[in-house]
Symmetry: C2
Subunit: 338 residues, 2 copies
């Protein structure tokens, strides 16, 4: 099993997470086993619903970041596997609750759990997975890691509540929107990255570096996701175009288009987002307005900005295959959309 | 501020939790402050919804049990206040999610949070409170207490999922029902009681005693609650009669009546519970059938049985005002219904 060692810091033409996947392959095998065993329960519905989520083909980016961040500082124990699994469970619990809150029917091209098993089961299995996540963290026994991850759990929920307030509010500023995604997306990436050096007992500076890397990677990731929902610059999408639009979500491409638009255009956005007039023709018009005002391009530009901060956060660390792989993750996130 | 010291073990005519309230008065003042501060957030909706819950007039039995259980073993620090607050937050988060899952309109005679702020906010603020609960536990720094409370969080959610499977299923056996309430109600009482001796570094036997006390108190508490929903033996109710019936919940009074009923009576139960024919006339008939088969009396009998086990769990411990107060809590729970 060859490990791909990238030249540190060198911009590569084809950004990919292959380096990260190779470096974490063995550990991810153990994460996947742990996911299956900790999602087990005598209560049939739980493993059934959990299997649906597990087979849904997510990239598992967050747990891989935790594993690489621990390896990077020479961690030799087993705790990182448990922490990585906890991170993935926290993420999965959030998705389950999110789909209920957003009344989403589809995720990654498949029916959401709530469409198959109902909102009730989605809420409760989410709670179960969160409980299991905490049990695994406790099992690792690092109070610092517990502190970071439990704080993230609160902040994520706070971000989701904040998003309710922003929902359908076209007057949301870019700053307000950034505060939402900082909490709901970046907090978990940040915690996932920071617990690596924490469990490896790395220095305070190393912790801060990984924390900052994770937070900024998370912001870039979310902004790219927002751009992709309107087609990004590409036609090859893993996700259905227009999901956010149909749910009336006020994401950055909408915020920029609304603020830069004419009075008449703002009227269109109000009908679409506030009055739910969001059929395919409206979506086409929305994308047209976004392109007119450079809203998608500028959303990607903002993502690049945070990607650069993430890169500089890691810059002073010594060259390791893990560092190179994490650099690639930044490029990969941005390249999804370009 | 006088402290009421009850004679240990003596059955008192008027069971009350005054002893527990007096013993924990100072600590509960700090718990209430902590509840307000930890339910605080810059996201307006969170403290607003939290205030609704806080002012809803629950007895706060669980945190008082934690405080008394810590005092009982001479605990002198501040950790018990944080753990007690965590326990109350876990309980509140469960109520928020429960009301969403059960589609409940009212709780303790007031509109539920989901009726005022919607299901979305209820799910997410529940998640926030759970996150805050974990942060406080982590802050205390006892891995044993964290282990107990995080395991309880998983078990509670498992119990709630189990209850979904039992819902509207009249063939549920008493054993199956007990398994549900053991998980969804008794687990938190048990954890609330056990973390007291844990934080006070009491012996393994003392931990086991409080754990068993809490679990059996929780079972008794839930069974009495189930009986009270059908009027118990009293006419003075803090809760609307028939809430469980209208929601089609299969609780022990229903299980016993169904199993002991004639073919025709079982037909009635099927219409009421499975087909939702649960108007006031049906409720009256249901209570009539319960009385005919002694189902309410026997539910209370089962509660007494667990109350006795709770009492014997504490019996070997040395006489303290806290022990006497916890004995009173058992009597109080049972006396709510007699």
């Amino acid at each position: 099993m060859g490990v791909v060692v990238n030249l540190e810091g060198g911009k590569r033409s084809a950004a990919s997470i292959d380096g990260l996947i190779d470096l974490t392959k063995d550990d991810m095998g153990r994460v996947n086993e742990l996911i299956l065993s900790k999602a087990g329960s005598d209560v049939e519905l739980i493993p059934e619903l959990a299997r649906h989520l597990i087979s849904s083909g997510g990239k598992r980016l967050r747990p891989m970041v935790t594993l690489a961040a621990a390896q990077m500082f020479g961690y030799a124990g087993e705790g990182h596997v448990k922490l990585a699994t906890s991170v993935e469970f926290m993420h999965t619990a959030t998705l389950l609750h999110d789909d209920v809150v957003d009344e989403s029917d589809m995720r990654r091209g498949r029916k959401t759990a709530r469409m198959i098993w109902g909102n009730q089961a989605s809420v409760l299995v989410g709670d179960f997975l969160l409980g299991q996540a905490f049990r695994m963290m406790v099992d690792v026994g690092s109070l610092d890691a517990l502190d970071i991850l439990s704080a993230a759990a609160s902040v994520i929920a706070e971000g989701e509540v904040m998003q309710l307030g922003v929902a359908k509010n076209l007057e949301t500023t870019e700053d307000e929107y950034l505060a939402v995604i900082k909490a709901k997306t970046a907090a978990l990436f940040s915690a996932a990255a920071e617990v690596g050096p924490v469990i490896a007992e790395a220095s305070r500076n190393d912790r801060a570096a990984l924390r900052s890397f994770g937070a900024n990677l998370g912001l870039a990731f979310q902004l790219v996701d927002d751009a992709l929902d309107y087609g990004g610059n590409s036609s090859d999408l893993g996700k259905n175009i227009g999901d956010d639009f149909r749910e009336g979500k006020v994401t950055l491409p909408v915020i920029l288009s609304y603020r830069r638009g004419s009075e008449e255009e703002r009227g269109f956005w109000k009908c679409a987002i506030e009055e739910n007039e969001c059929d395919d023709a409206a979506l086409e018009k929305a994308i047209g307005l976004m392109n007119k005002h450079g809203a998608i391009g500028d959303t990607i530009g903002r993502a690049r900005h945070f990607g650069e901060i993430a890169r500089d956060a890691l810059a002073p660390l010594k060259a390791t295959p893990q560092k190179a792989a994490l650099f690639d993750v930044i490029d990969f996130c941005i390249s999804r959309v370009t």
